[in-house]
């Protein structure tokens, strides 16, 4: 089997968690995605981070607004399809200039197995930009930390939305066990 089935986390996955810790992220909302599994597990294991499982991704946008009102930094972890669920709620962030950090694992692009992922996956970048978010796409392990650090700075330093798209080139295509 290829490396994607290896359960040993890649170094960048723990480095990504370390960036969130250094940025003092205290609430992490998520709709699970396989590509975020390691990060979600690290957040759940950290007593200083409140992990908040969501029923839909837009909840995580509103959660981040509330966290910021309360003096805490939040992040939203989601798959590319979830970006579509966030569009209207992101107007809250723009109207009020809330910081909004989004980490998006991509589907519907490199080596995608499921064609139903393509319609949303293919428009994530322009949709986020239309929502006034800064967007950076990461395809190699060495680019993860600088891209997320930059997004942290853009979001919390500039009171705006910033997203990092983690490509299937980076996380590996979804492996179907059946």
């Amino acid at each position: 089997m290829n490396a994607v089935t290896d359960t040993t986390p890649a170094a960048w996955q723990d480095q990504l968690f370390d960036v969130l810790k250094r940025a003092d992220i205290r609430q992490v909302g998520y709709v699970p995605d396989a590509g975020h599994a390691r990060l979600i597990a690290r957040c759940k294991a950290d007593p200083e981070i409140r992990d908040v499982v969501l029923t839909t991704e837009e909840e995580g946008v509103a959660l981040a607004a509330g966290a910021w009102l309360g003096g805490q930094r939040a992040a939203l972890l989601m798959q590319s399809s979830g970006v579509g669920n966030c569009v209207n709620m992101l107007s809250l962030m723009r109207s009020c200039r809330f910081p909004m950090l989004m980490l998006v694992t991509m589907r519907g692009e490199w080596e995608e197995f499921n064609p139903w992922q393509v319609p949303m996956g293919s428009i994530v970048d322009p949709v986020l930009k239309l929502c006034d978010a800064d967007v950076a796409k990461v395809e190699t392990p060495d680019a993860v930390v600088p891209a997320v650090q930059n997004a942290v700075q853009l979001a919390f330093g500039g009171d705006r939305a910033a997203a990092v798209l983690l490509s299937q080139k980076l996380i590996g295509r979804k492996v179907w066990v059946k």
Partner: protein
């Protein structure tokens, strides 16, 4: 006959005024967009109100984020049935977190009051109290009179567990009383009030 039989008589403005009349210093309010924001402003403008002019379906989650960030503050989300219905899943998310300092109060008139008084789901099949119980919220109140409102007002200050309350208000449309509209101004004002109440320095 529908399971969700209702006798809705409470005046929404008077109900909001009762809930906030003896508001403790640490009680922050997230009023849902539209009528509840007008009601909260009509009850008296306050730095501790995060008035919503949009973000439909997000009020409970904004309240959750604030409640988790500041456990010593009290947070009351006060929203309409239409706004709550759009974010129904957030009741499940609240039920998973169960912050003792969070209350979600729905002013339920069974109608979309801002858009022509079309009947909403709560005029028919949907019972929000049952939904809240099913989402794991342990303290659920169905408020239909002044005594219930006064009990709810007390619990906003001191409930020891997450609270959900449906307040059965009449389907009327009082004159609009509009607060500050600038989102940045509203946000910054609330953040300063939180910082003062909780003792942190806003970034």
């Amino acid at each position: 006959m529908q399971a969700n039989v209702r006798i809705a008589t409470l005046d929404r403005r008077a109900a909001m005024a009762t809930l906030l009349a003896d508001r403790p210093a640490n009680l922050f309010v997230v009023p849902g967009l539209g009528s509840c924001t007008w009601d909260a402003f009509a009850a008296g403008d306050d730095d501790r109100n995060f008035y919503l002019w949009g973000a439909m379906g997000g009020a409970a989650m904004i309240g959750l984020g604030l409640a988790l960030a500041q456990p010593k503050l009290r947070v009351a989300v006060i929203t309409g049935d239409g706004e709550m219905l759009m974010g129904l899943g957030s009741l499940g998310t609240v039920g998973m977190q169960k912050p003792a300092n969070l209350a979600v109060v729905v002013f339920d008139n069974g109608h979309f009051g801002e858009t022509g008084m079309q009947a909403s789901h709560t005029s028919g099949a949907v019972d929000l109290c049952a939904v809240a119980r099913g989402c794991g919220i342990e303290r659920v109140m169905d408020v239909g009179d002044e005594a219930g409102l006064r009990e709810l007002a007390g619990l906003l200050a001191n409930s020891d567990r997450t609270l959900f309350a449906r307040v059965r208000i009449a389907a009327d449309d009082p004159p609009r009383v509009l607060p500050e509209k600038d989102g940045v101004a509203i946000k910054d004002r609330v953040r300063r009030a939180v910082a003062k109440a909780a003792g942190f320095t806003p970034a």
